[in-house]
């Protein structure tokens, strides 16, 4: 995902009382269901990108409410930390969660930028954390033991989309465009490598995200006459790019990554100009529940509770919370024990199998493709086997 936006952190926090109580009584349960474990959720809950964070928070809330409704021995409460998506706010909140609130686990931080700053604090504080949306590939390279995510990183995404272009679209000439950003450029390069491996010929160009005139890029695309165009970047530029490409008479299929997975893409292109464009994302947004039975049930439960369709990262937020719930169910209530459990967990989730590699990456990460229709982005299917109608 976009580096700024990306991480949903699940925080499982064991409440101070529980942690103290557990250690005092050697983990023995007290009388009659009075125990609770606190799990935290950290992300941009009120800022300008909160649209990407409220859905996973609701997903996590749904999972925890469903668990508590089963009347378990140890209940879970969700405590939210509003980092505004900013590292400088996420760091003190992480410290507060560890030393003052003594939570047992954290869902989040949600964006990659704040994760890069707050995750070392969580690692030092030995607090297990699961992000539902931080996709920057480098987060997994620090050897962190307490860090996990339930979403595929940008490399996984690039390979998924590149494979889709080569295998499903069978494009032989692909034009690659990126916005020179930390997110867009590596994503575009991974897609380029994947389609080249699939036997396609490529050409590439970069746009200036501050600029409004992409006509030089359009002319290059025209000269190359590609069958497909991949854009690594955010929807604000993506929409304008589609508009200017179509005005210039380019009819090749337009594809992009999760940075463009927003209604703003179609709006920027205007009317139905963006129709047929395909957006890949390692996230599962499936309001009609076509992906699986679990996804269907999740969509129904989510709608019943929040009176809204599951949105971006809701399923991942649910899965991150489920990981902590399973840990608590198995009798783990301290951060250390929960983290041990997470290294072995293997449970079915909504978006994917909940199972982590030793570096914290999800064991299986699927990339899903969405096709623009009007201002909607209905799910087309898994990038591995989806076909374009």
């Amino acid at each position: 995902m976009r580096s700024r936006l990306i991480t949903v952190v699940g925080v499982a926090a064991a409440s101070a009382t529980l942690a103290l109580g557990a250690s005092a009584c050697g983990g023995g349960s007290k009388s009659g269901g009075g125990d609770t474990v606190t799990i935290g959720f950290m992300g941009d809950l009120t800022g300008e990108n909160s649209g990407l964070v409220i859905p996973p928070r609701q997903g996590a809330q749904l999972a925890i409410d469903q668990y508590n409704a089963t009347n378990p021995k140890v209940k879970i409460t969700l405590k939210t930390y509003d980092s505004q998506g900013k590292g400088e706010q996420a760091v003190p909140l992480a410290k507060q969660a560890i030393t003052k609130d003594k939570i047992a686990g954290l869902i989040g931080p949600t964006f990659s930028g704040e994760s890069a700053q707050a995750d070392p604090v969580l690692e030092e504080g030995k607090l297990p954390n699961i992000s539902s949306s931080a996709t920057n590939a480098s987060l997994a390279t620090h050897g962190w033991k307490y860090w996990h995510r339930v979403i595929g990183n940008d490399n996984v995404q690039g390979q998924g989309i590149g494979g889709f272009i080569a295998n499903s679209l069978k494009a032989k000439k692909v034009f690659i465009i990126h916005d020179s950003s930390e997110y867009g450029k590596p994503l575009a390069e991974t897609v380029k490598a994947a389609v080249t491996q699939g036997g396609a010929q490529t050409a590439e160009d970069a746009i200036d995200p501050q600029g409004s005139d992409f006509s030089a890029t359009v002319n290059k695309v025209k000269a190359f006459t590609p069958e497909a165009i991949f854009f690594g970047g955010y929807y604000a530029q993506g929409g304008k790019l589609i508009k200017q490409l179509r005005e210039g008479g380019v009819k090749a299929r337009f594809l992009s990554g999760d940075g463009s997975l927003d209604k703003g893409l179609a709006k920027g292109a205007g009317g139905t100009t963006a129709d047929g464009s395909i957006i890949g994302c390692p996230c599962l947004i499936d309001p009609s529940g076509t992906a699986s039975a679990a996804s269907k049930k999740f969509a129904e439960d989510y709608k019943a509770k929040f009176h809204a369709d599951p949105a971006v990262y809701s399923a991942e937020g649910y899965d991150a919370a489920t990981a902590f719930i399973e840990a608590v169910k198995a009798g783990n209530t301290t951060p250390e024990k929960i983290n041990d459990y997470l290294s072995k967990i293997d449970k079915p989730g909504v978006s994917k199998e909940i199972k982590f590699q030793s570096n914290g990456e999800p064991a299986a990460a699927d990339v899903y493709v969405y096709q623009v229709k009007g201002d909607q982005l209905p799910l087309l299917g898994n990038a591995k086997n989806a076909t374009v109608k």
């Binding site: 160009d205 409004s212 992409f214 030089a216 002319n219 025209k222 604000a236 005005e247 008479g249 709006k267």
Partner: protein, 326 residues
């Protein structure tokens, strides 16, 4: 690699040229405002980019007044663009006059240094940007406050190719931009060189003190200069909206820098220099992108600026406003 990129330029020579001309025409119109104010006051009006921004919103507001038409083409489009140009011109010209009255005139009255006026210009630029991002855009378009920094769109043009000869294609919006900009510049040039007010502007640029002795009302001349320069930016804003159909609070920032560059490239203070500088800059950007890749567009443009200034420090045409005579 190089051979293919050069090939790229030659096979798409006309599209690059047309795009360069239409981009350059907008630069040139905005550059006029920088050049006129510099000619008369020796001041770089850094808030001119925000005057342009206000023009785009003037045009967008007019589109809303017409009930946000869509897919306009043919003569209806020409008429609509005329209306947008008038609206943009009034919005930009009016705000330029107010800007001068609020931000520059008090300084001039007190004989403040040019540096003080420059700081005032930068301050006015930031003030106007933030005013639009935080207050005007959310209020005017009924958006939540934090969305004020996002682009505002108004799709209304039916884009078609009006001329199509072999590999040469010209779309309706580019044609209107180029023709409209050239007409405005010819009109302004005639105004400055043929009318009484224009003579006053030239006289003030040449020697303000003597101009006062000859009965020229300097304040009136300065107001007229800002109004004319602002109106040109407003027309540029209408043409920009026609071409890109989108604006936002900082739309003027990059464009303003480019237009200022165009003014310097052509010879600041020189009206025809603004036209030459704008067109040359637009073409260089497009050809540079074709050969080196679009990410090098700005690098190529500014390298050429540095080279030109090394050998011709006063810009391509070099002369200043006071010497430009009919």
């Amino acid at each position: 690699m190089k051979a293919t990129t050069l090939n790229n330029l030659f096979s798409q020579f006309w599209p690059y040229t047309i795009d360069g001309l239409s981009l350059g025409a907008i630069y040139a119109l905005v550059a006029l405002g920088y050049t006129m104010v510099y000619g008369v006051l020796r001041l770089i009006n850094f808030a001119h980019s925000e005057i342009f921004m206000i023009g785009t919103f003037g045009a967008l507001g007019t589109l809303h007044l017409f009930g946000m038409p869509s897919n306009v083409g043919g003569f209806a489009l020409v008429a609509l663009v005329l209306a947008l140009a008038v609206a943009g011109g009034i919005a930009s010209g009016g705000s330029a006059v107010i800007l001068e009255y609020v931000a520059y005139r008090p300084l001039r009255r007190n004989n403040a240094s040019r540096l003080a006026a420059l700081i005032s210009a930068i301050g006015a630029s930031l003030f106007l940007q933030q005013l639009f991002a935080r207050l005007v855009i959310p209020q005017a378009f009924g958006l939540p406050k934090e969305k004020g920094a996002l682009p505002v769109q108004g799709h209304f043009v039916h884009h078609t190719n009006v001329i199509h000869i072999g590999g040469f294609e010209l779309s309706n919006d580019r044609l209107i931009v180029i023709v409209g900009a050239v007409l405005m510049m010819v009109a302004l040039d005639m105004f400055v060189n043929r009318t009484k007010l224009g003579r006053g502007i030239r006289a003030t640029a040449q020697d303000p003190e003597t101009a006062v002795l000859m009965g020229v009302n300097i304040d009136r001349i300065v107001t007229a200069t800002f109004a004319l320069g602002g109106a040109m930016a407003g027309v540029a804003a209408a043409l920009y909206m026609l071409r890109f159909e989108e604006t936002r609070f900082d739309v003027g920032f990059l464009l303003g820098i480019k237009a200022f560059t165009a003014a310097v490239l052509g010879g600041i203070g020189n009206l025809r220099g603004a036209l030459v500088g704008g067109i040359v800059l637009g073409l260089i950007e497009m050809y540079g992108s074709a050969v080196f890749g679009s990410e090098w567009q700005n690098v190529v443009a500014f390298s050429v600026l540095v080279l030109v200034l090394m050998f011709r420090p006063t810009g391509i045409l070099g002369e200043s406003l006071q010497q430009a005579r009919a």
